[in-house]
């Protein structure tokens, strides 16, 4: 809602308050002022008359004017570049010292001639070019012949001495879409009296125009028939008000419709009475078919759209757009003025579907005063009589199934102070409510009832009354205490949340950076790195862009993008992770993804070690250990995938029982290329939720062994294709005294036969009951060597 302060001042005195102060006070009461716009600005202005205009001797486009600036200032020479400058014009002169929005006027020399002031175009006074014609933009303003020469209050003469507050209305204050109610609000906020003129009651004869509604979405429909109107130019005061509100004056009939809506908040619709198919208007919501609107377009209407019909023909898309046939034109003589109440929901739906919106539809959507149709029609009718020369008014019986009962809300001082955390007394509260145009009835001690004005459709209960009190009395009255909450409610982090924090801390402690990436991805990414969660995903019906259209099923792809972004910015050696929920129609969970690029993030860099498969595996093992998941509970298997995402020989799937809980691997060279990564990279995605959900028992203290252990090293040659784990398991199971088998060296290359590798293990022997003798260990070692020979053709290296 745009509020002209000049217009507002007719109802409540605001001309002694600066617009900024007013905006500030309104903001605290919950009415935000988005913009304070001065229609025009300028000091030292005067209306002048161009006595003569000659070409500047040294220029092909400048003129030298003699301008009569009235008795007080006399005649001055002004050099002017406007193409429309000519003798006989009445112009706006910015005199020496004038301060305009963009400049300060000084006496100056222009190509050898002294210019004493400037002739102005309106935009030079700050008028937005969108309100001006091309001619006005290209030249100086041409004032009417009767403009008062020497007049110094030029902005007032132009009707531009106004300031407009653009209110950003929140959905609960739809009442402020009416100037009268803005005045009431300002009066309440400033504690000033508000004068709303009494409504006129024009004489009306009984008419026979019939109205009705066949839908509960239109409970009220009223009209007046006004005959013998003329589309005259509107009076200046009306033109100025509309201009300040950002509307162009069209004709008095249309202008009056707009003016009454701006004043009262009630949208009016006008029909040419002679072009309606019948002397009736009936509202329906079951019409299906085409509708030819006054904007020249045809719209396909569906059931549910509210339409006003006449003899079954749609003549108006209710609250949104009139039909082309009955629209008021220059030649209209008889009008039907409609003031109705349409439900917001269907208007909102229709308006969104057809992409149509107007001042009127937005008022219905937000909600209007249901209680003023008759007075608004009277007001409009009187104006049509006054300014469109209406000859005759015919009344009509309104369709009205509303009760029009005033809302009364019982409340009490205890309730209000209790909700607000204040200690107001009864008279303070009553004063605030009265100031807010509420009435107070049924007083009984500290209990009373509040009668709500009909335009405050947002108010329905006691809580609303509390808001009115606090916004007018000010939030500084609210005390500050901390809620005392019973001990029986448990707070703080849950065990699972603590584990999640520990996991994140672990990763940061291992040099991995925590990231945040978008959850919405594009078509090309939706099915990549699809391992833990596969298949169906959530697709956005109404995406903003193709880039963010599907809810991701993994985090790895997003993190790889982050790596790619950094690589493109010459950042090498990256370690990134993200923890986030992953949601798909059939499965949802908490995931962790890790991307390692280039070398380990060791500061100093005198020595570097590239990240590889084992870096990621190590992080998985570390996390599992952190969460108390023993290595025996999970196993790695080669990752089977036909996609060129992971290195086929250096990637694995991790299973807990039968459940896939992680995939990890070095990236496929094609993947690196596609991502623009110049260094090698490792990726891992873990179903962190599954790991967190695993129940691990309480730790049990173990008793340190009583007898010492014996260790022996064993190095042997074995086929390259034999995995360490196979050899380890084979040895570990050979004897009950073997408590640990660990690898300490692995070598392939020079001095080793092709197809073979040298593996060196440390084997630990321990008997809980006694100290092992050398001979006993030697015997087991021999069995180990024989067994490795038999199973793997391994040869012991001496």
């Amino acid at each position: 809602m745009k509020v002209s302060l000049k217009w507002l001042n007719q109802f409540v005195k605001v001309d002694d308050v600066s617009p900024e102060t007013l905006a500030d006070k309104l903001a605290f009461a919950g009415v935000e002022v988005e913009e304070i716009r001065r229609l025009a600005e300028g000091t030292n202005l005067v209306i002048g008359h161009v006595l003569s205009c000659v070409a500047h001797p040294d220029s092909d486009h400048l003129h030298v004017l003699k301008v009569d600036e009235g008795k007080k200032y006399g005649v001055h020479t002004i050099v002017c570049g406007a193409p429309n400058a000519k003798a006989g014009l009445n112009v706006i002169v910015a005199r020496e010292g004038a301060v305009l929005p963009g400049e300060t006027i000084k006496k100056s020399e222009i190509r050898g001639l002294t210019s004493d002031g400037m002739c102005c175009a309106l935009y030079e006074l700050g008028v937005d070019k969108k309100y001006l014609t091309e001619k006005q933009v290209n030249g100086i303003e041409e004032l009417p012949i009767d403009a008062p020469i020497g007049e110094e209050n030029v902005l007032a003469y132009l009707g531009l001495d106004d300031v407009v507050l653009d209110l950003k209305l929140l959905p609960n204050r739809s009442d402020l879409n009416a100037m009268e109610n803005v005045a009431r609000e300002v009066g309440a906020v400033l504690s000033r009296p508000v004068t709303i003129p009494k409504d006129p009651i024009p004489k009306a004869a009984k008419g026979d125009f019939a109205v009705g509604s066949e839908t509960p979405r239109c409970p009220l429909f009223a009209v007046r028939e006004v005959r013998g109107v003329k589309a005259l130019p509107s009076p200046k005061w009306l033109v100025d008000i509309l201009a300040a509100e950002g509307l162009r004056s069209l004709s008095s009939i249309v202008d009056i419709g707009n003016y009454v809506m701006l004043l009262t908040g009630q949208p009016l619709n006008l029909y040419d009475a002679d072009k309606l198919p019948a002397r009736e208007l009936i509202v329906k919501d079951d019409y299906e078919g085409d509708f030819a609107a006054m904007d020249g377009k045809t719209y396909a209407l569906k059931k549910g759209d509210l339409v006003v019909t006449s003899a079954g023909v749609p003549v108006c898309l209710a609250g949104i757009l009139t039909g082309i046939a009955p629209a008021v034109t220059e030649d209209t003589k008889n009008v039907v003025v409609e003031a109705a109440l349409f439900a917001g929901a269907p208007i909102r739906r229709t308006s969104i579907r057809l992409g149509l919106g107007s001042e009127s539809s937005s008022r219905f959507i937000k909600g209007i005063n249901p209680d003023q149709s008759e007075r608004v029609l009277d007001l409009a009718t009187q104006l049509l009589i006054d300014f469109s020369k209406a000859a005759k008014v015919l009344s009509a019986v309104p369709y009205d199934i509303l009760s029009h009962e005033r809302k009364t809300i019982p409340t009490s001082l205890t309730y209000l102070n209790g909700r607000l955390g204040t200690s107001f007394n009864l008279s303070e509260v009553k004063e605030a409510l009265l100031r807010d145009h509420m009435a107070i009835v049924n007083e009984e001690g500290e209990r009373f009832s509040v009668v709500v004005p009909n335009y405050r459709i947002d108010m329905s209960g006691e809580a609303d009354v509390s808001e009115e009190v606090i916004r007018l009395l000010g939030f500084s009255a609210v005390k500050s205490v901390l809620p005392s909450v019973p001990l029986r409610i448990e707070g703080g982090y849950s065990p699972r949340q603590k584990d999640k924090l520990a996991v994140r801390r672990y990763l940061r402690g291992h040099g991995v950076d925590e990231c945040l990436t978008y959850s919405l991805v594009d078509q090309s990414r939706r099915a990549s790195y699809e391992y833990l969660v596969v298949g169906e995903d959530y697709e956005i019906k109404n995406p903003m862009t193709d880039d963010h259209q599907f809810l991701r099923k993994n985090l790895l792809r997003s993190l790889l993008d982050a790596a790619s972004y950094n690589s493109a910015h010459q950042e090498k050696d990256l370690a990134l992770y993200e923890v986030s929920d992953v949601d798909a129609p059939k499965v949802s969970g908490l995931h962790l993804a890790i991307v390692l690029v280039g070398n380990e993030a060791i500061e100093g860099r005198l020595e570097t070690r590239p990240y590889d498969f084992y870096s990621a595996k190590g992080l998985f093992e570390g996390l599992a250990g952190l969460l108390g998941i023993a290595p025996t509970r999970y196993r790695l298997e080669p990752l089977q995938s036909a996609k060129e995402e992971f290195h086929p020989g250096r990637s694995a799937a991790v299973y807990l029982g039968r459940t896939l809980v992680a995939v990890l691997g070095e990236l496929h060279p094609s993947a690196l290329k596609n991502l623009g990564l110049s260094q090698s990279a490792v990726g891992m995605e873990i179903d962190l939720g599954a790991l967190l959900d695993l129940r691990t028992g309480l730790a049990k203290a173990s008793v340190p062994p009583r007898f010492p252990s014996v260790t022996r090293d064993l190095a042997f040659l074995i086929a390259t294709k034999t995995d360490y784990e196979e050899a380890r398991k084979e040895i570990a199971h050979l004897d009950a005294t073997i408590s640990e088998v660990e690898i300490f060296d692995l070598y392939e290359g020079a001095n080793i036969a092709p197809g073979k590798k040298s593996m060196a293990l440390t084997i630990t022997f321990r008997d809980p009951e006694k100290t092992l003798k050398d001979e006993e260990v030697n015997a087991i070692m021999k069995r180990i060597i024989d067994d490795l020979g038999a199973h793997f053709q391994a040869e012991v290296r001496q």
């Binding site: 269907p346 949340q497 924090l501 940061r508 990436t517 990134l576 500061e603």
Partner: protein, 346 residues
Amino acid sequence: MDPIEQVKAIQEKALSEVAGASSSEELTRVRNTYLAKKSELTSLMGLMKQIPAEEKAAFGKVLNDARDAIQAAYDAKSQGLESAALSAKLASEAIDLTLPGRTLCQGRVNPYWIIVDEMSEIFASMGFEIVEGRDVETDHFNFEMLNVPKDHPARDMQDTFYITDTLLLRTQTSAAQAHTMLAKAGKEPIRMICPGKCYRRDDDDMTHSHEFGQIEGLVIDKGISLADLKGTLELFVRKMFGEKREIRLHSSYFPFTEPSVEVDVSCAACGGKGCPMCKGTGWIEILGAGEVHPHVLEMGGYDPKVYSGFAFGVGVERVAMLRYGVDDIRRFYQNDVRFLKDFSEK
């Protein structure tokens, strides 16, 4: 020569040779000369036979004393030589102390997470439960249970990503309110926060993002008023932005609170005097809040005649931007490590 004199002469010679030894090899040779089985001192034992019986004891003592003295001198010298050798070795091992240390760097944190973690910490320490909602929500919980029925004009305040007619990406973590209320069956008091990602159909620019973080807070009990809200938020703001920060409330509108307020915090950059950061007002808008709407309580199973509560919602990136002077919300989602390097969490 008197055997005792002989012993003393050997002792003297031995002691001087021990003292003069400059390496452990030399010292070993000295020891072998004087203390080994076939050393000079041992050979003097042979003289014992010639010594009269009454002097044998005295001679034996002299001999033993000499041996002990040489042994002691040897031990001391040997220790001295070892420690000198060690010192020399250590001296030769001196390194360039100015070369960089070898540390596994601490991973950096996107400041988004610093704010989420710190806020969670603050409220957890106040006994708040931390609730985790889901990004995919139903229209019912995201809107209807928050007093925003279908076709309500307040829906225009947030443009929503829909998956189906009834399924959407949550536009606000407030969606967690009703879940929590229903879970507590309308009987238990509630103190919770819900941090999470929200989605709105906004064009991404410096201050808007189609994805953003929000932290919802909800307290419900008997007798909870705006004063409790003010006290709680004051505490939070001071922990987050500094002890000297003040807050002020002004009227606003959210469908699920009544009264609704916007909360401003006094500008940390200028201390409230007015500067470019706060656009000269001395205050910065930080979050929205209010007393829970009776209808929302009712739908959540709480009798509004018995229970009341407050709720608030704060934007994660907004807090991070104010606190760290981040100029563009998109930086949180780029994960440029040159940006991240400024942030490591203690």
